[in-house]
Structures are given as C-alpha cells and as structure tokens.
Amino acid sequence: MISCEKAALICNKTQYREATFMEKMKLRLHLFMCKACAGFSSKNAQLTTLCEKAHLKGLSEKEKLKMKQELLKNNQR
C-alpha cells in the first residue's frame, strides 16, 4: 500500500508519461480505495487535457534573455 504523497507523485508522473508500469498499478489500487486521491487524479488529468487543448506556446529562457538585452539596449539609447 502506498501513501497519498506517493500516489500524488505517481499521478504527476503519469501526466508526463513518466510513470512505470508497476507505479501505475500501485496508483490504480490506491485510487480504488482513496476517494480524495481519485478526485485529485481526475482533476490533474483534466489540467493536462486543458494544457494540451490550449496549444500553449512559450518563449524559451534564452529568447527571453535576448529580449531583455534588446530592451536594455533600447532603454539606454
């Protein structure tokens, strides 16, 4: 039997497809018995769907750094 903390960790890993088969089995068993974690798990999965649906696109840290430098250059002028 795994703890709720462990279950949450596995649940998060599952969202990024990084949980092993054994871990997923353990999680299933836990969710079967723990309603709180089942609620969390379903919300967590929904969050993943939402993030996928939004087609989020972000800038990398490098691009942001470049932006800052440009902004700085512009500011000094």
Binding site: L9, L50, K53, A54, H55, L59, S60, K64, L65, K68
Partner: protein
Amino acid sequence: MTARKYNERNENMQVIKSNSITFDCDEKGMTLNKLHPDTWVDSYADYLFNYAISRVSDTEIAKDLVQETFFAGLKSAKNYKGDAAERTWLIAILKRKVIDHYRKINSKKGKAEVRMNYSANSDGEGDWLEEQVADPFSSFENDAIENEELGMAIYDCISKLPKKQSMVFTMKTIRGMSTEDICKELDINPSNLWVMIHRARTALMGCLNQNWFKI
C-alpha cells in the same frame, strides 16, 4: 540554467533596474498602478506571445511583435496614467502592433501584386467551390476562440506562480523538456522537480477551477 547564465541575467536585471522608469502616480492619494519595465519580460512575455501567435501564426513575427510592444511601452511610459493594469496596457499596445503588422503587409506594395492563391499552402488545381464552402458542422472556429481564451487563462495563472515553479512548469509542460534536461539546467534533483511540479499543478487547478473545470 548554468550559474554563469544566471549571473549574467542578474547583472542585466540590475542595469535595467538602475535606469528603469517608474512613475509615482499617487498624487490623488489613490493607489494607482505603476510600470515596472524590469519585470516585463519575465511576467508578460509568454502571455503576450501567446496572444500574438494566435493572431499572426508565425513564431518569428509574433516574437518581433512582442519585442516591439516592450519597446513601445518603454517609449510611451510617460503616457501611462496608471488606471489600467500594466498587462492590460501592454496588451493594448500589442493589439495596435498586430494591426500595424497587417497594415504593413497589405500596404501599396503588397496590393500591387494580385495575390489569388488557390489555397494558402498549395498551388494545385481542383474544385474551387466545393473546397471553399465552410463546413456547417465544423466546430473549428468556436474551438479556436475557446482555446485562445483558455491559453490566456492558463498564462494568467502561471504568471501568479512563484518564479521557480512557473519556470519548471513551463519547461516541462509547454516546452516538453525531459526531466533530466530540466534538472541539469536548473541544477536541482528530480524529487525536487516533482515537488515543484506538484505545487504548480495544484495551484493551477485552484486558479483555473471556477471557469474551466467541469465537476
């Protein structure tokens, strides 16, 4: 991120801070909004970029527009009255920039050439009419609008997270980097990373809850 990069960044931030423009608008005793250009890139770049990309659908152009928005913001900082939130004000500038962009590409020079492509991405021949008719059952447009709102809402919530959490979350979720890469770049261990991911996800669930979750 390596230690050297971090230092470089902090130095930049300090220089920006030292000659940043912050206006006191508390003349009437009201707490009005102030501009903090030194935090602009960290706080709003992703949000603005997401807005821009949904309108110009080209990464490079969107990036340029965001950059131009920051320049313009800095330039007209003295016109900022403080009645709108910083981000609303920047979005307003970005809207103008997007319009300007379309004006530019549709300028005289652009109009001189007759551009009548059969379709945007091919020059093949085919049954024009049949392919141009909108599919009445398509939910594509509505989805696009909803997804855009969703994207803005998510960025809104991400910007409320602590810096480190938002960084880890964006790297992992949006840029899809592997756990190892993130750990290496930020110099943290995996369990640390998962704790941050967990906190970020929980916070996001709370933040998005009212509007977007169906329970």
